[in-house]
Amino acid sequence: MERLGTLEVKNLSKKFRSRNDELTVLNDINLTVQPGEFISIIGSSGCGKTTFLRLVVGLEKGYEGEILLDGQRLNGPSLKRGVVFQDHRLLPWLSIEKNVGMGLKDAKSDESRKAIQEHLELVGLKGFEKHYPHQLSGGMSQRAAIARALVNRPGILLLDEPLGALDALTRMYMHQELERIWKQEKITMIMITHDVDEAIVLSDKIVVMSSRPGTIKKIIPVPLARPRDRASYDFVKIKEEVLEEFQLHTEHPFTYTI
Amino acid sequence: MSITTNVATFIRTRYHGLVSFLALFIVWSAVSHYELVSAEYLPSPPAVAKAFVKVIKSGQLGVSLGSSLVRIAEGFFIGTTLGFLFGVAMGVSATAERLFAPLFNALRQVPIIGWIPLIIVWCGINEPSKISFISIGAFFPILLSTFEGIRSVSKSYLEVAQVFEYNRIKLLRKIVVPGAVPNIVSGIRLSMGTSWLLVVWAEINTRSAYGIGDLLSSAGDGKKPDIAFVCIIVIGIVAFLINELFGHLEARLSTWRKSYR
């Protein structure tokens, strides 16, 4: 299987219709993601980030414009695109091992066992195979969810605020882990976040969205060498650049932290 | 305009259900019309309608329904009051819980209908036995729901009350009982529903006075299936009304709970 793919989003718009009105959630989104890139999407709460992600996954239907993967129109969810939801969504009745194996055709074959084992090692959960989700901490659950999304070797991994519920220290640790996984797997990652530091530490490009309707306001490249130093001059400079985008949006200057 | 659109949406959304009911009705009519089953066993729709009119006109239905409802009211009142008091006591005081819980837990294991023979031995077959039987049935749901309701009042509210130095009475009135209201109301709904079917059980087993259960079983004995059918419909309707009524009450009284969450 050709693992990497170019994702092209052209003139994408999405409306939600309720009984008597229509809400334009996304308007005219254009974005190209190169194979192996790490992209962060940042924007205030309710601006349509999750909707965008769900469209790319194929969980949401009925949109205008085009979402192309290697020039092919998307048609429903697929194993080629892994997702990590904001709530980890591990099935409580399956052990971690079985949760991670959910995406495999035949979870019992030797090949599958090996893949599960490898991915548990990748996310640092070796030894927790037989545990159940309620026995794991928040960070561990998120890591298990990442392993589950990666186990079929998708070309693109989509993450919806995967670290949102974690405390600051665990989150910084997870940044290192995510970066390591991204490098090791050579995979395209698109991550939604509301943490500016997180976006700068991890991404090649930061997509800043504005709300009502959700549009792409600016795409900020992050040409810094990895691993990145949060205190460096360049880092702070980029951070200012990102924050500026939100101040210009005069209605709710600080809502991005919510 | 609004009425016609309402009817239209009703039909559109309930269309499938209406089809099923209609099919059922047609089968019923056909079976009795062509006497595939004799009228002795399955009354025809017109016969049931006629019987309905008859029992209403003769006053039989009114009297029966009335006396059953009076019985329920009495038994329900006794059972709920006792259940509520014990529930509050056990909810508030750990000692009361320790004292009474084992006893009530043991008594609760008796399948309600199993009390009937014992109560008849003790209280005869007249009013007192029916009312005690219904009281027992109404007692347990209220007891449990009151107890659980009070226990579910979050500790953090109790701490708030402590900060404001509420005394015990005020604590009960302002925090504990209001917090338990949604549970209590759902307990009332349960025990009201239980009371309704228990009155039928009691009347079927004693057959001494007027009552809907009595009308039902004598119709069965007297081979008058049409009247029995009327009773089934009436019993069903009352059960439905009780459930709806208390369901509305429950929804209304627990709105704060939903919006709070």
Partner: protein
Amino acid sequence: MKIQLLKNKLTGLIIPLVLYVAWDLLSRYELVPSTLMPPPKVLFETWWVMQSSGELLLNMKMSLLRVGAGFLVGASSGFLLGTAMGLWKPVEQYLNPVFNFFRQVPVVAWIPFLLLWLGIDEWFKIVFISCGAFIPMTLKTYDGIKNVPASYLEVVRVFEYGWFRLLRTVIVPSALPSIFTGLRLSLSEAWMLVIGAELVAAGEGIGNVMVIARRLFQTDVVLVGVIVIAITGFAMDRLLGLLETRFLGWHRTQNAQ
């Protein structure tokens, strides 16, 4: 700690003990006629006589067989209907209103008709019990399937599951707690209704033993009957409870958090 726990347990015995002593004294000195309240000793003797003569076992066997049959038929058909309504939209649309309509009528109201159609023998009792067991099982199965969280279903959509794997991995496990609740409700309903059916229609069975005893004013036998059915009901529920913990370990521990 341990002493405190023991003390708590002992407190619970106070009231039953007081009641027991009062009962013993009242009946011993005939303050209450012993026809109404036989002393505890008599109760034990009666139980022993019923037990050793085999009367109790024979009648319990009959009742349990009926419950078994009625529960099996009622719960399994309830499971099927609940599953069908939960999984297939058309079944739900056509049958759910009808089911909801009929479930409003308490099963006791059907007694005269069932007697008319089926006579007073086994068929009546088993059908009656099945009807009672059917309702909670249908409801709870349907509920369980309807309430499978949409978030889990989305996870599975990404993995492109076929319907069998979907059923096995997500829907059944997720609905299982509710299905177990249905089983327990349905069994206790069946146990209550077998007593009810035996009170109404003659034949062997523990309920019938109690009716005959009450006609003959054998209060001791009635009381033994009450105690025996309570213990049996409790034991059956416990049994299902054990099965539940065995199958639903994840559920218990998750909710305990």
